[in-house]
């Protein structure tokens, strides 16, 4: 049985998402009052503001008017399910990928994905990063058996054919690395690694081999197998240099032998 309170809340929620020029009669007792617009505006603006805060590089690429119009459409089809608006918009990159007005901006969804990575890295659980010396201290004969666990805040992706990382970091306003925005773009594939070694989220370019290596680590594969996958993805991958770069970025939180029962953990 639907209670009076439930049916009121059903009607009110429906009215909030109904466009002012298309209100059915059963909602008019609410929407005909001038004050109803305060609720409608607050709800819609709250969703749009959250997306705008969570996708700053996309915002900078498309401008505020375009962004807010797209965000309003997204909010209507995918309103927040979590009351923590700082994590709202997980589906926004996918929305942009299929958004007809963005067809001329094929890089937009990729840039949005890196904005989303930033949010995920920012709110991820704390964990000490595996020290760069950890592997140097490990017995060499067991190195290939080690399973490196990606840090909870580490996010990475490879983008075929598009310089998504360069586009993203140029449009991320608080970009720490100096990059002249007038530099011509090389229209080639790029990868990115975001980590949070000491509080703030930082980022670095990552090649295809590095992304394949981290994918393998995330799947629980030991170092020797992960290295094979890096090389099969990118034949000229310099494994030693890649490991140094990943460790220095804080990409891992632990290394342990696997699957022996008396496993040894290095931190």
């Amino acid at each position: 049985m639907t209670t009076e309170l439930s049916s009121f809340q059903d009607r009110f929620a429906e009215a909030l998402w109904t466009l002012p020029d298309a209100v059915p009669d059963h909602l008019r007792d609410l929407t005909d009052q001038p004050g109803f617009a305060v609720y409608r505006n607050t709800v819609v603006r709250g969703c749009i503001d959250a997306l705008q805060a969570n996708y700053p590089a996309v915002l900078r690429l498309v401008g505020e008017d375009w962004f807010r119009a797209a965000a309003a459409l997204h909010a209507r089809t995918q309103p927040p399910v979590d009351t923590r608006l700082l994590v709202y918009g997980a589906d926004f990159p996918g929305f942009l990928a299929g958004f007809a007005p963005a067809a001329d901006l094929p890089y937009l969804a990729g840039v949005a994905r890196l904005d989303r990575f930033w949010t995920e890295a920012h709110v991820a659980a704390d964990a000490p990063a595996l020290a760069p010396s950890a592997l140097a201290d490990a017995p060499p004969e067991g190195l290939g058996e080690l399973v490196l666990q990606p840090h909870p805040a580490a996010r990475w992706a490879w983008f075929d054919d598009q310089p998504i990382y360069t586009l993203w970091q140029r449009n991320r306003q608080d970009v720490p690395q100096g990059m002249d925005s007038d530099d011509a773009l090389d229209w080639i594939g790029e990868g990115a690694l975001l980590t949070r070694p000491e509080g703030d989220v930082v980022w670095t370019a990552l090649d295809a081999g590095g992304c394949a290596f981290l994918d393998a680590c995330a799947a629980g594969r030991p170092l020797a197998l992960a290295a094979d996958e890096a090389l099969s993805r990118q034949a000229d991958c310099d494994l030693a240099q890649m490991m140094t770069a990943l460790l220095q970025a804080g990409a891992f939180c632990s290394a342990q032998t696997y699957p022996t029962p008396n496993h040894q953990e290095l931190t």
């Binding site: 309170l5 809340q9 109803f36 923590r84 920012h122 704390d126």
Partner: protein
């Protein structure tokens, strides 16, 4: 935020973290929306821990949706309890409103008809929340823009009855009283005078804005302006009757420099210090 010597606090925004951390004004406390800190880890929690190490903090929720015709979300209660355990806030508060419904979040504080069934539902939801947190919470009067059919309870009586049934405290937002009375054509002074003073654990003061089209006929709870003189007058009327209570200056938008907010906070502090703590002592 000391119950024995009530003082004035400020809502805290990330832009002001460094100044807030360094400020040593006597009695200064801060309030945040827990939704912005319900994260697994990272710099936000580290900021909050740092502030908490120097100042009392209160958690003012905006999305628990206690007036929804459904129990509070279990995951929401779990993260709120974990945050409260970590921060040890002076107070946890929420609103007499709903904002989550059938799996969607509607980011506002929405109205409902204060019926007997609604009273039972909200009281049950407050009790569940207090059980989950292991602490008393305070419930705030919301701002109103609509005439809703079917109220069986006056809002002050409804809040008082919730306090009686659940043991919760109340948070009186004087700006909400002012603008709701203005929007609905009721008397703000009568509301303030009728409010049960014994239950008031905290007072909120904020600014409002006339609607861009309707002007004074529709005041919006925008939290983007200084507290208006009429709201200050209602505040003085309130504390001269019930005595001093922890009082928050809320500013969420059009954030001015920290010093400007501190000056407004000192205005509240001066009024609080002018009040004898126990009104009965005057008698």
């Amino acid at each position: 935020m000391n119950a024995a010597r009530p003082s004035a606090g400020l809502s805290l925004k990330p832009a002001h973290f460094d100044q807030a951390l360094a400020c040593d004004d006597a009695g200064l406390w801060f309030e945040v929306h827990p939704e912005n800190y319900a994260v697994a880890g990272g710099p936000r929690l580290a900021w909050l821990d740092a502030i908490r190490s120097r100042h009392p903090l209160s958690l003012h929720g905006v999305s628990l949706s206690l007036a929804a015709d459904a129990p509070p979300d279990a995951a929401h209660l779990a993260w709120l309890a974990a945050l409260a355990d970590r921060i040890e806030p002076a107070l946890v508060s929420e609103h007499l409103a709903w904002s989550a419904w059938r799996g969607s979040y509607l980011p506002d504080l929405l109205p409902f008809a204060r019926t007997q069934a609604a009273l039972l539902r909200v009281a049950g939801n407050i009790a569940r929340t207090q059980d989950a947190l292991g602490r008393r919470i305070a419930i705030e009067n919301p701002s109103h823009y609509l005439r809703i059919e079917g109220h069986a309870w006056d809002e002050v009586d409804f809040l008082q009855e919730l306090a009686r049934r659940t043991g919760c405290g109340l948070l009186l937002d004087v700006n909400n009283v002012y603008l709701s009375a203005s929007n609905l054509g009721t008397c703000a002074e009568a509301y303030i005078d009728a409010f049960p003073g014994d239950e008031v654990m905290e007072i909120h003061l904020a600014g409002h804005t006339p609607d861009p089209v309707l002007g004074q006929a529709l005041l919006v709870d925008s939290h983007d302006a200084p507290v208006s003189p009429k709201v200050w007058a209602l505040y003085e009327r309130l504390i001269s009757r019930i005595g001093p209570r922890p009082t928050l200056i809320e500013r969420d938008d059009q954030l001015p420099p920290f010093a400007e907010l501190l000056a407004e906070r000192r205005q509240a502090q001066v009024l609080l210090q002018g009040q004898p703590h126990e009104k009965e002592a005057l008698a």
